[in-house]
Symmetry: C3
Subunit: 279 residues, 3 copies
């Protein structure tokens, strides 16, 4: 829903009705106990696989939600690193169709934001809301690399060129200080030992996003404010730089970094995700 | 007090003295129990009436403060929506004079910031400090619409033109996601059912603010950081974009959105307001 | 370590090993009890002396760290206010050498950031990491005054010119609202009564920082988000405006102002400093 495409209903009878009998309980704790059941499809980012979501999925399921964390090509057990962006988005769209999912909350983290954008073009009628968690929101025709300052992009391109298979492995000092800044060294080492080199091609493909920007699906952006994986401010960064491209969106904020807070505070993040996703 | 108009006293004997015997207690809890008694005049914003302040006023009164929440033309029980900005500010200034108030902490929320600016011009000698709570601070000659990105301003102007009486009713999806993003749907529906269309004219009147920018009244800005009613950053937003126009000001921050946090966390906000207002 | 100078190791055997047996404990509380012992040299800013660090140094020592808070010329008991920036940095470098310190975490607050930059040039081999706490990070050839908006700089220059000895005394209203905005009036008065006029010359000296920008020492920036001593955003401010000059750095954030949070929340700040400083 974009500001300049909005055709709002004026008749209050069009209002959504509350999912739970609203006998006046405003108490947040009470409300938390009885959440509106939602169906989540969670899309991880680069240097991760679907186990990225284990803690958060577990917390969401405890509250009665249905949670899917589909793996996509080039990640997890897939030995093939020669993948394209459209292979990834087709795989996710196929997953949603094969499971016959409807009213989906489609959430992407980091690079997963670009997958959410393209999957939304493929199966818009299956989606209830798009949620971006410190995720890329690209303009039409852009690639992810366009959102990196030149020195950072050059580091990544150089790492890909020096690899045997056009992949990028994050150097440990970069991962530790810029991606997992809030974690203890022990945790960062555990996390780092589990990641694989990331296929470079999908990060540098220009994406046609004209249809995405014509879709009328509600959107939310969750901004964890201590994420320094992207430089913040002055023409770069998650919020407000990329979030503002969504037009009208629901903003949720929390204290967290790019990679480690999903491990250390899954309950807090599950609550933020619910607040971003409920009606 | 602006940076370039400042004539600071160098003689420490000019220092304000503490309102309470300062026998060395730095303990915040202890201090909170014995607050410096203040006189507040709280000015609500658009799509609200003076009941907006009920929870906060109650919390402030518990701490010994005197709190006024005057209604202004076009709002509350007033059936007349054909009002001007100067009718509103005159009404508030008259209220302050009729109650013979002095040393007033004049606080405005949202559109109420523009009322604080003009009331300060009318009764500067009655005011101890101006406090802006996620409030507009306009430049001389501006109107509120100038602070909205073009697509948002066009939505508002269109809504006014389509109304029978030059008023703007916020569409529910916009209110829910951009004005009350942190609240449960039940609470947002309760709040939405209580609001009335807002007179459009005062939002689009250019204001002469030359006198405001010559006044030497201390100022504070309270920024609730999850407010997304205005786009944040890149030339728009509450803080630092508009707050910085105040020159020297006291900054206070908290976690909250534009409309619902006054309902869900009145005690927290009353504390922030006190911290912004004390000597 | 700058993005464009980075030569990262790809071999995981080069990874640092955890300082404490990592038998899988991710629990933050548990970890906090057994911190990696570090050696800190803490450099205060303007309108302060080494007692600025008393509370924080005490908290860090409780956790087993070694903490030094050297005084530098023009501050503390030094009656001579006619000092230069290089006198200050030489004094700190001499202190580090005389104590035979190695693997130092060198941390600067505010103006102390410029001292950290130059001390790093003098004794780079002694330093394990540089930490900036709401501190200036100047570009090569800049002086601190270049980071102040013109009206603020003019106020400071005027205060220096009106002094007998080229010093600047912060006016109380400025100190109260912009430097200690979160504190009670009693605490601000206590703090203000203890400060001395600041030598103006080192604040306006252009610094040659070419060597600093060639050094490959890890860096962190701690940003206390309610600090309003510098205007925030739109081309000014601590983070991301000055922090981004560090290239790759570890970001830590907390709730605090420029001068009073060290007094009111030393334990919280000691924890933030540890998170910024550990491997």
């Amino acid at each position: 829903m974009r500001w300049d495409q909005t055709n709002y209903p004026h008749d209050p009878s069009h209002l959504p009705t509350a999912p739970i009998a609203p006998s006046g309980f405003i108490n947040q704790e009470d409300y938390w106990e009885r959440q509106q059941p939602l169906t989540f499809v969670l899309i991880h980012g680069s240097w991760a696989d679907s186990s990225f979501w284990n803690g958060i999925a577990n917390e969401l399921r405890k509250k009665g939600h249905t949670v899917y964390t589909p793996e996509y090509p080039g990640h997890g057990a897939d030995p093939n690193k020669d993948v394209s962006h459209s292979m990834m988005t087709k795989s996710i769209a196929d997953f949603i169709i094969s499971k016959n999912l409807h009213n989906v909350i489609l959430l992407g983290h980091s690079f997963g934001g670009t997958l959410v954008q393209k999957v939304a073009e493929l199966v818009p009628d299956r989606l209830k809301r798009l949620v971006f968690l410190n995720a890329f929101v690209l303009n039409d025709g852009q690639n992810l690399g366009d959102e990196l300052p030149a020195p950072v992009r050059n580091v990544f391109v150089g790492l890909a060129q020096n690899s045997k298979d056009n992949t990028i492995m994050l150097p440990f000092p970069l991962y530790r200080d810029a991606f997992a800044n809030l974690a203890s060294l022990e945790l960062v080492q555990q996390m780092y030992n589990e990641i694989s080199p990331e296929p470079a091609k999908p990060l540098l493909e220009n994406l046609n996003l004209k249809k995405f920007y014509s879709l009328n699906i509600p959107k939310s952006y969750i901004y964890l404010t201590v994420d320094n994986a992207l430089p913040q401010g002055e023409g770069f960064g998650w919020h407000p730089h990329m979030s503002s491209r969504l037009g009208l969106f629901r903003l949720i904020k929390g204290h967290g970094d790019h990679m480690s807070t999903v491990k250390t505070e899954p309950k807090m993040l599950a609550q933020k995700i619910y607040e971003a996703s409920r009606d």
